[in-house]
Amino acid sequence: MRRILLLLVLLLAAPAHAYDASGALPDAAQEEKARALFRELRCMVCQNQSIDDSDAPLAKDLRALVRERVAAGDSEETIKTFLVERYGDFVLLKPRFSAANLLLWGAPVLAFAVGGAIVVSSLRRRKKLADGRPLTDDEKRRLDTLLGD
């Protein structure tokens, strides 16, 4: 009896990874494409998992949906657009380039540019300090007299 109960628990507690062994598309290239898409789509009821990693019922449904679309010959972009219309931008693990995401995608470039500018300017400033200012006429004269005699 206990064994049966245990099995029941095992079945009910959704295991945390994707095993639809039977669902794979027969065409290897298409399956590859679908898997690549799985990794870019979020399982929205999970904690930061792609639908490739999750075995929540929703992830399972999404995988079936994506495979169906891929089999129907839809492009990656069409499938993503379709899913975004249905679930919102939240479904994409890699946010799109858009005005709202400008800062997100621009951040690395911006950080590097600002950092680089600071480095270059401080190197220049220091070089100038090292080169020093030219001697004034008075100083030149004094130097001459010192060296002259």
């Binding site: 095992l10 507690a13 295991p15 095993y19 479904v91 946010p95």
Partner: protein, 664 residues
């Protein structure tokens, strides 16, 4: 639970209050003393630092006692323990929850404070007093937080007979190691922070400062490296789908201080050797600890996993947010006000060791900024526009990846450039062996791969370049290729340990890259339904399901599947994979079966179980996967070697012992 022991939890609670009182004294009196130049007032800091450590240690011991004896009159024990839980998890369960882990955080904080008081006898009195005072501010804040919003000693009346057990995912040896390591790293940066603030208060900073800060930073970095690597391996075998890094916000929270800390280590070298980059080093010290605080906030407030956690317990999140704002804002403001008083020194040409370390810092800081923005952008966007987006692994691979690769290309060059003015061409000449190996590695990989991908062969070549190039400085300094072998060997042993440390740490980076590349590019996966007696082929091996069955554990039950791994009919190994059911929490965890071949692994985990079709089995061949963690181990070893360098033990000079002459 017998009544007479219950007082122990009360004593622990009281000890925390006493520690807070000492922390308040430490926050103020030494500072005042340093201002007035009063040695007695400054000396107070030592006593309070030791005292704080003793009291917090007592509190920690009291909580541990409550866990070990299953004292269910404490709410914290009720919520996170169970009398049937194995002893090791009763002990490690002390920090497997919010309150306990904050107590561990504070314990490590005061441990470091005590260590400064103990080992800091060679520090100038004023600097030491200021450093300990700043430490006092941090511990005051966190002790207040513990007592006011996260008290582990809260009672529950009437006490229930049984507890709710620890989250099954945490019932693993990983919990005993991972959080303490991580906290030793996180909190260790508080020392660098305290030194930075003390320097700003005094308006004085010199090469000796960097020499004192470096060992503490190095120690913190070493532990953080081990902690992150350990966490990664834990996730790999416990979460059941064989990933090693998920770019999860909680992981990013630990990665940010690590990158900033790495930058700090390198800039402190420049400061120590060349008295340059002073202002920048101070800023990095502030940033590294600020990011540790941010990490603590992100993980502990629950703001990341769900924005609603604030609503569940608004005080906690708000409290840490205030601590964060005060410390980060305050220290940055102080930096803005006082950094002008620090004199810059040490000139250098762009192509020089200093220049290379500046490039290192630029790339690492950009990487930190990238992780920072990627982690917090969804939160910020939702707060501003209400839009919900996800920033996941594909984003970080596309942004962090190129930065990391660019940095790795530069790594072997850095140590070969001389201080002040280096010669890139000369350095490149010293790297021809490494470049040769890289070229061969590139060609071989390209050939095996069948010219299908560009990235993987490039990464393999880069790993070879970094791994071998890491030792170019040693070869050069020992003149290995130019002097007779015996002489070269003598020179090798005479090199400073920090040189060896840098070589190992850089080599570790290359090894990790190789592991990551191989495990992600050449991962072979097979998923199938299986019944006992059936088998399938994966990566040239046969995986046979021998039998399945149930087995009882102390506080769980296993559904176990035994597998044999055969190659050409010969049995190579037997492994077990299981689904573990924890009745108390009604949770299932996956215990993967791991078969190790050299540094590669076969990863076997179980999926659905059905009476008709058998059990779903996922087998993955992960080539060179162990290198992912061997790399960081090597990095830590490098850190430890560097820490053992005698140059870092300033102020502890040992008189040169006269060499004894053998008796005639």
């Amino acid at each position: 639970m017998e009544g007479r022991y219950e007082v122990i939890a009360e004593a622990g609670h009281y000890a925390l209050v006493l520690a807070l009182a000492l922390a308040l004294i430490q926050s103020t009196v030494p500072l005042w003393g340093a201002r007035r130049g009063d040695a007695v007032l400054m000396g107070v800091a030592d006593g309070t630092a030791f005292g704080q450590f003793i009291f917090v240690a007592l509190a920690f011991a009291a909580l541990t006692f409550a866990y070990v004896t299953s004292d269910f009159s404490l709410l914290n024990v009720v919520e996170n323990s169970h009398s049937a839980k194995p002893m090791i998890y009763k002990v490690s369960g002390v920090w497997g929850n919010h309150e306990g882990s904050m107590l561990l955080w504070v314990l490590i904080l005061v441990l470091f404070g005590g260590a400064v008081a103990l080992f800091g006898s060679n520090l100038p009195a004023r600097l030491r007093a200021n450093v300990l005072a700043v430490q006092g501010w941090v511990s005051t804040a966190f002790l207040l937080y513990l007592l006011a919003a996260s008290n582990p000693f809260t009672r529950v009346d009437p006490a229930p007979l049984e507890g709710r057990d620890l989250n099954p995912l945490l019932q693993d040896i990983g919990l005993a190691i991972h959080p303490p390591m991580l906290y030793l790293g996180y909190v260790g940066f508080s020392i660098a922070f305290a030194f930075a603030i003390a320097a700003l208060i005094e308006g004085r900073i010199d090469a000796a400062w960097a020499r004192w800060v470096r060992p503490w930073t190095l120690a913190a970095w070493l532990f953080l490296t081990l902690g992150i690597a350990m966490g990664s391996y834990w996730a790999y075998y416990e979460l059941g789908w064989g990933g090693f890094w998920f770019w999860d916000p909680v992981e990013n929270a630990s990665l940010m201080p690590w990158i900033a800390g790495t930058a700090l280590l390198h800039s402190a070298v420049v400061m120590e050797k060349r008295a340059a980059l002073k202002v920048w080093t101070v800023l990095l010290a502030i940033l590294a600890f600020s990011l540790s605080l941010l990490g603590t906030f992100l993980v502990r407030s629950g703001v990341l996993t769900s924005v609603h956690s604030f609503a569940v317990d608004p005080t906690r999140g708000l409290f840490i947010l205030i601590i964060l704002a005060v410390f980060v804002g305050g220290s940055l403001a102080l930096f803005g006000l006082r950094s002008g008083t620090l004199r810059q020194g040490g000139l250098f040409a762009p192509v020089s060791r200093e220049g290379a370390l500046v490039l290192n810092n630029l790339l690492l800081t950009t990487a930190t900024a990238t992780v920072f923005v990627g982690t917090l952008y969804p939160l910020a966007l939702e707060a501003v526009t209400g839009g919900k987006i996800s920033v996941g692994a594909p984003y970080f691979n596309a942004t962090f990846g190129p930065l990391a690769l660019a940095l790795l290309i530069a790594v072997p060059f850095g140590p070969l450039l001389s201080w002040k003015r280096g010669n890139l061409f000369w350095a490149a000449q010293r790297l021809w062996i490494a470049a040769g190996f890289a070229l061969i590695a590139w060609a071989v990989t390209l050939y095996i791969e069948g010219f299908t991908s560009i990235l993987a062969p490039f990464c393999v070549a880069l790993s070879a370049f970094v791994i071998i190039g890491a030792f170019a400085e040693i070869v050069e300094r020992a003149r290995l290729l130019r002097v007779p072998p015996g002489e070269g060997l003598k020179r090798l042993t005479g090199l400073p340990r920090s040189t060896w440390g840098a070589a190992f740490a850089h080599c570790g980076l290359g090894i990790m890259l190789l592991g990551v590349t191989a495990a992600t590019s050449w991962n072979v996966e097979r998923i199938d339904m299986m019944r006992p007696g059936e088998s399938f082929e994966v990566a040239g091996m046969d995986l046979v399901l021998l039998e399945t069955g149930m087995r009882d554990g102390p506080n769980y039950q296993d559904f176990v599947a035994r597998f044999a791994v055969r190659e050409g009919g010969v049995e190579k190994a037997v492994t077990e994979s299981s689904k573990r059911v924890f009745a108390v929490r009604e949770m299932t965890t996956t215990e993967a079966g791991l078969v190790t071949f050299g540094v590669s692994q076969l990863y076997v985990s179980l999926g659905e179980i059905s009476n008709e079709e058998g059990v779903a089995v996922r087998a993955e061949w992960k080539p060179l996967v162990l290198l992912i963690w061997i790399g960081p181990l090597l990095m830590s070893l490098g850190g430890a070697l560097s820490l053992a360098d005698r140059r870092l033990r300033v102020g502890a000079p040992r008189p040169a012992r006269p060499r004894l002459q053998p008796a005639e």
